[in-house]
Amino acid sequence: MNNILELNGVFKSYKTFALEDITFALPRGFVMGFIGPNGAGKTTTIKLILNMLQRNAGTIKVFGKDNIFYEQEIKEKIGVVMDNTFYVDEWSLKDIERTLKPFYKRWDSGKYNSFLSDFRLDVNKKVKEISRGMKMKLMIAIALSHEADLLILDEPTSGLDAVARNELMEILSEFIEDENKGVLFSTHVTPDLEKIADYITVINNGRILYSGIKDDLLEKYVIIRGGLDVLDDEFKTKIIGCREHNVGFDGLIDSSVLPLLPKNIITERSNLDEIIVRFNNWRENK
C-alpha cells in the first residue's frame, strides 16, 4: 500500500511521560483521525513527525522518505494547522503572504487570496485582530495555498463553533478528493471525525490502542448495559471502562466476545467518544 505517512516503533521519553512504540500508517487518499484524551501524546507525535522533537527510537517516513534526512523536501509538501497561529501578531495577512511565499516553490498567490476572500478575511487585517475561528481559517488557507499533499491538523477545531467546524470539514472533504493527498487530523472532538475520517488511530497514555479503518473500530467495540446480577469478576475483566451504578453497569466490549455474554445484556453501537472515554477509564483503573 502507498502510505503518505508511516511511523514505526517511535519512542520519545520525558521525565514524566513517554511515547512508546508508536506505529501507524496513513494511506494516500484518506483522512486519519488521531484521537485520544488531552495529554495522551497526540501533539508530541505530531511534533515528532514535523521534527520539532528529537525521537529516541523508531522511524518516521513522510511520502516514503525519512522525515529528518529529507526534511526540507518533505516540508515543501506539508501543510500544518495547529490549535493556535504561529505568526507575528502584528503581521497583516498580506505580510504573511510576503513572508511565506518565497519559502514555497508551489505557492499560489491567487489561491491564497481566493481562500481569504471565501473566508471573508481582510488581507489588511493583522493576525492579532482576527478571531480564533478566523485564525484557523487563515492557517488552512496557508496550508492549501502551497499545494500541500499532506495536511497535519492538530486540534484545529477546539474552541470553534459548529458552523466553523462544519466549514472545515467541507474544506477537508474537497481536499481529499485528490487521491494523492492525505490528512492527519488530531482532535478530541470526535463527532467531527465520525463524518470525515476513513482511518482512526487511538492513542492514550503514550501508547497506540488502535490504528485502522474507522468502521472496523466502531464494529469492533460495542456498548453493553446490564444488571449487576450478571456482573461477576470474570465478566468484568472483559469489559473496557466498566461503570457500575445502583441498578446495573455499562461498558465497552470487544464484539467478538458478544456470543459468550448472558442474554439479558443490552448492546448498542459505540461511537468514537465512548471508545476514548472507556479506554481512558480502563487505563486509569488498570
Binding site: K47, L50, N51, M52, L53, Q54, E71, Q72, E73, K75, E76, I78, V80, M82, N84, T85, F86, Y87, V88, D89, E90, W91, D95, R98, T99, L100, P102, F103, Y104
Partner: protein, 222 residues
Amino acid sequence: MKKTLLFVGMELRSLKPYRVSILILIVLATGLGFFFGSSHALSSYLMMVLILLMTYPFSISEKNRLDTLYSTLSINRKTVVRGHYSFALMAEAVFIVLAILFSWIMSLFIGAKFDIMETLFSISLLSGVFSLLVAIQFPIYFKYDYSKAKILAFIPLFIVFLGIIQFPLLTELLGIKFPWTDISFVTSDIPAYIFFAPFIFGLVLLWLSCVLSCRLYAKRDI
C-alpha cells in the same frame, strides 16, 4: 544560502512592530553622541542599541511561537541558526556604516575631531565587543527559550558594561593616565592592520559560536 537570506528577510519583517522604537533608540544614541561631542561615545551608544536589538528576534520568536513556524517551513534548523547570525552580521555592517557616517557628520556640524583611523579603530574595537557578546548570548538563546535564557544571556553583557564603567576607576586607582577622550596615542603607535584585529577576531568568534548554536538548536525540543 538563498534560504538563509530568506530567513533574514523574515527576521526583518518580524521586527516590523518595533521599527519605531528601534528608530527612537538610534536617534537617542546619536543625540547623546552629539551632546557629548564625541564620535567614540556615539559609536558606543549605537553599539548598545545594536546589542539590545539582537535580543528582539528571540523575544518576538518566543512570544509568537515562531520556532513552530520555522518547523513548518521547508528549511532545516541550520538555516534558522545561520539566519540569526546573518542578521547579526548585517546589523553589525549597518552599525559600522552609521557610526562612520554620523562621526563624519558630527565633525561637519559641531566641529568634532574626525580622524578616519581613530574612528575605524574605535569601531573595530566595538565590533569585537559586539561579536563577543553575540557569540556568548546566541548559543544560550538557541539552547533555551528566550524567557529561560535572558538572565543567563545578559550576564556577559552586564560584565562587559561593568568593566567599561569600572576600567577608568581602576586605571585611576593604579595611577595610570588613560586619555579616554583621545585615543590617537593608540592609533599613532600601532600598525594599521592591527586596527582590524578586534573586528576579525570577532568574526572568528561568531563563526565558532554559530557552529555551537547549530549543534545546540539541532538537539532542542521545540
